[in-house]
Symmetry: C2
Subunit: 194 residues, 2 copies
DNA sequence: GTTTTTGTTGATTGACGAGTCAATAAACTT
DNA sequence: AAGTTTATTGACTCGTCAATCAACAAAAAC
């Protein structure tokens, strides 16, 4: 009963399942069978569509990064003025979508993956580059010659807050994370009301 | 030719080798044989002394945490006044010892380990708790009722900077990391010269 | 209506790795 | 000197898992 045009559907299901399983397991030690099972197919089919486990991981990572990018772009679209745009980026970074347990767990493991797999490192570099230039662009004019340092700090702070959320026991608390980041920002901008 | 009293020596060698190998591989996917080989013994002996790979990992993690704790304590011992003490903590966090490639790589993987292994989570919680209370204690009086938020931010910032160092391509750059953290601090304390 | 393309899986292969065991040897004890 | 404890390893077991294969099914193309 092979319905045609299954490929994109299956691939999407596998990507989603990969993220879920990595988040669940809290590590990259997930078997292809586990992923395939969660996606409702045989492990052979998973290999058929992706070729290898690593490709599945990378596809999952791309997906997470894409979602994040979309969220940021969406938030930026409705924000006017540099300060509002900065706030928008922060809020998007800790939005409900990116801040689910599984997603945070997946991120953590993608960081680890980036240590070994060049393509993962590349993807992560793109994300960091975009974030950095977004921050920097909006900070220039607001923070003067301190813009570069503030951007670096903000970027690191976001990652740090993200990391801590992923590790803590209770449910993720986006509100307090975003509060800390916003506080950092407003504190840094004090005295620079252009 | 069994010399007696080998146990502590071999355990220490294994712990060191574990950190090195995890750092090298950039993941927890390290075989006991690899570790044992680097430590100059058979894998059987490694199992003899530690019982399991997980125990080795935990011992390595304890060691890293111990070193970090010692470094902080040492730096605090010669610092007078809350502000100097805060700076001391920051400098210790990014000290040469804690900031070698392998160590940072190991940290990253310990974070991952903490997602799965309760004992690892416990150890990490102890580290975070100590750091937090150290920061908070010295921030009270300097930052007034903002102390709690600043402490949270500083803690996350440290982790974030650490994380980014671990991921970046070139050699770790402690100086710029500590500069960002110090900048955050001084910015937060502005206007609060008690 | 036969051939090709697409979807699908159970079974199998082949490698690798954690942990165990039996054996050997040197030191300490009594 | 006999017995015990500590050190040490090569060989082996047992499980797991990524990846492949052979085979079957249905739709599409010719």
């Amino acid at each position: 009963m092979p319905k045609l045009g299954m490929e994109p559907i299956r691939k999407a299901a596998l990507v989603k399942a990969t993220i879920t399983e990595i988040g669940r397991a809290g590590s990259l030690d997930v078997t292809v069978s586990q992923i395939a099972k969660r996606a409702g197919m045989s492990s052979a089919l998973a290999h058929h569509y992706f070729g290898s486990k690593e490709e599945m991981f990378l596809a999952a990572m791309r997906h997470v990064l894409t979602l994040y990018g979309a969220e940021v772009r969406g938030a930026l679209a409705v924000a006017e003025g540099p300060e509002a745009r900065l706030r928008a980026i922060l809020r998007a970074s800790f939005s409900a979508g990116n801040f689910r347990r599984e997603t945070v767990g997946a991120w953590l493991n993608f960081w680890v993956l980036a240590q070994t797999v060049p393509e993962a490192k590349r993807l992560l570099a793109i994300y960091q580059g975009r974030l950095q230039s977004n921050l920097l662009a909006n900070l220039r004019g607001l923070a003067g010659d301190r813009a570069a340092m503030v951007a670096t700090g903000l970027g690191a702070l976001i990652d740090g807050l993200y990391l801590r959320e992923g590790l803590k026991s209770g449910p993720p608390d986006a509100a307090s994370a975003v509060a800390v980041a916003l506080d950092y920002l407003s504190q840094q901008l004090e005295g620079f009301t252009a």
